[in-house]
């Protein structure tokens, strides 16, 4: 991911972030701190810090899917009614299609790619229990389930179904998910997963 470079308007020294540039301008040139350019956001995605300049109408979905190439988040309904675009933001499962990127400054975001990279056991239990058919909704389910297990490491089947009730699957894989989530919870409890 490219991080924009921030050249100092006084001495052209490049900085890696707006914050660093600001500190330099204040300290090095005794100048007023630069106003933050409109639309500049810094957020942590899957453990990496990213800076982006976004338009107010850029959704978090567009930012991660189209611009950052994290295409695991899928768009099914585009209206907050299906859960397929779910990402975890500051611990909460949120719908990236209904989240403005400009409001994500300073946030920590985890996408399905991050969940997979951390080798979360949900991925393999999802494969094992055939929780997917076309697979289009699947990343949204996995991310939602991950958020659930983060909060509630030992959920009951009812709690799992409640938590996943906002994820639509047109292929009808619903009965298979609670099994996978329960098994993943068991694996996590057995300590076979390094907390990532």
């Amino acid at each position: 991911m490219t991080t924009p470079s921030y050249p100092c308007p006084y001495c052209a020294a490049p900085f890696g972030s707006h914050e660093a540039l600001k500190a330099h301008v204040v300290a090095g040139h005794g100048a007023e701190p630069l106003p933050k350019p409109h639309g500049l956001i810094a957020l942590t995605v899957n453990g990496e810090r990213h800076e982006h300049t976004v338009e107010p109408n850029t959704t978090l979905y567009t930012l991660i899917h189209d611009r950052m190439g994290l295409t695991g988040a899928k768009m099914f309904c585009d209206r907050g009614a299906c859960g397929s675009c779910t990402v975890i933001m500051d611990g909460r499962p949120v719908l990236s299609c209904m989240t403005l990127a400009i409001e994500c400054d300073g946030k920590t975001v985890e996408t399905i790619e991050g969940v997979a990279a951390a080798k979360h056991p949900l991925i393999e239990t999802y494969v094992k229990h055939h929780c997917m058919q076309c697979g289009y909704c699947t990343p949204g389910f996995v991310v939602t389930a991950k958020a659930l297990l983060d909060k509630n490491p030992d959920p009951t089947e009812e709690e799992i179904r409640e938590a996943l009730a906002g994820n639509l699957c047109r292929c009808g894989t619903y009965p298979q998910h609670p099994r996978a989530v329960t098994e993943a919870a068991g694996l996590l409890q057995g300590g076979r997963h390094e907390k990532g």
């Binding site: 409109h38 338009e55 107010p56 109408n57 959704t59 585009d78 209206r79 907050g80 009614a81 299906c82 859960g83 779910t86 909460r92 499962p93 949120v94 719908l95 209904m98 989240t99 403005l100 400009i102 409001e103 939602t144 409640e162 938590a163 996943l164 009730a165 906002g166 994820n167 639509l168």
Partner: protein, 322 residues
Amino acid sequence: MKNFGHVNAATLEEAVSALRRYGNRAAVIAGGTDLLGKMKDEVLPAYPEALINIKTIPGLDFIRYEGGTLSIGALTRLEDIATNDAVRNGHAALAEAAHRTASTHLREMGTIGGNICQDIRCWYYRNPQNRFPCLRKGGGRCYAIDGDNRYHSIFGGSVEKGCYAVHPSDTAPALVALDATITTTRRAIRAEDFFQVSAAKTTVLEDDEIVSRIDLPPLVGKSAFVKFALRKAIDFPIVNCAAAIGLSRGKVRSARICLNAVHVKPYRAVKAEEAIIGKAIDEAGVESSAAAAVAGAKPMSHNAYMVPIAKAMVKRALLGCK
């Protein structure tokens, strides 16, 4: 989505002054789950020039009990209310209403303030690109009257001009039944006076007014919330109902019953309350109260089926307070 200006407010004052600056051409965004849908579909004739983000205002996200009074910050997420043990014990109807709202994700995003300020779901009103410039939008007529009104009001239109769109919130009837007070940047208003409809609004809020907190007095007795919808999640109510009941020696001493999604605003069923006072919460008692609740119903061409459902909801809400 078309573009717009965007302001992160640091304080309520900043938010209010930003709203003033834009006149009525700006909108407040909190969870955004209702507003962004409207903007994506361009349902209104005028697109907001700017969104004023209030999520950046600290101190509006809290749940506190003080002397039995429950105070909730406007930015508190519905999920936090739904899963808060104190609220579940002290003001069960509200916790349950929050819990039955939409889906996990939407409850994690949506705030209580946003939930009570949400706009109507009338499918004429919400049809993309302002396909129906109806009364509610300052147009000539209400399309629901001759159209498909299966989810519209069974208690008549709005006072002023006759919009039949129902109020879709799950938490609103709970707040009315629990006699909450809603504090805004201008005033404190009782919940039942908050949902007032003019031609184009669901609440009494002025253009530059923002909800900041909600207070619920201690509940002596019990409260319950029930909801009927086509789906168990991601759904607005066909009818919902909240009741708060004070009992003494097996008889109802005080009652507040509020239906929603049946009228242009949460519908406090005063007749039903009168009918149950002094009675026990038993089959006969709730039946007569429920009958009184819908006695004044005036269904439209496609929604008469909502009347028996409303009745059932009143009964079940009351039985839930047993």
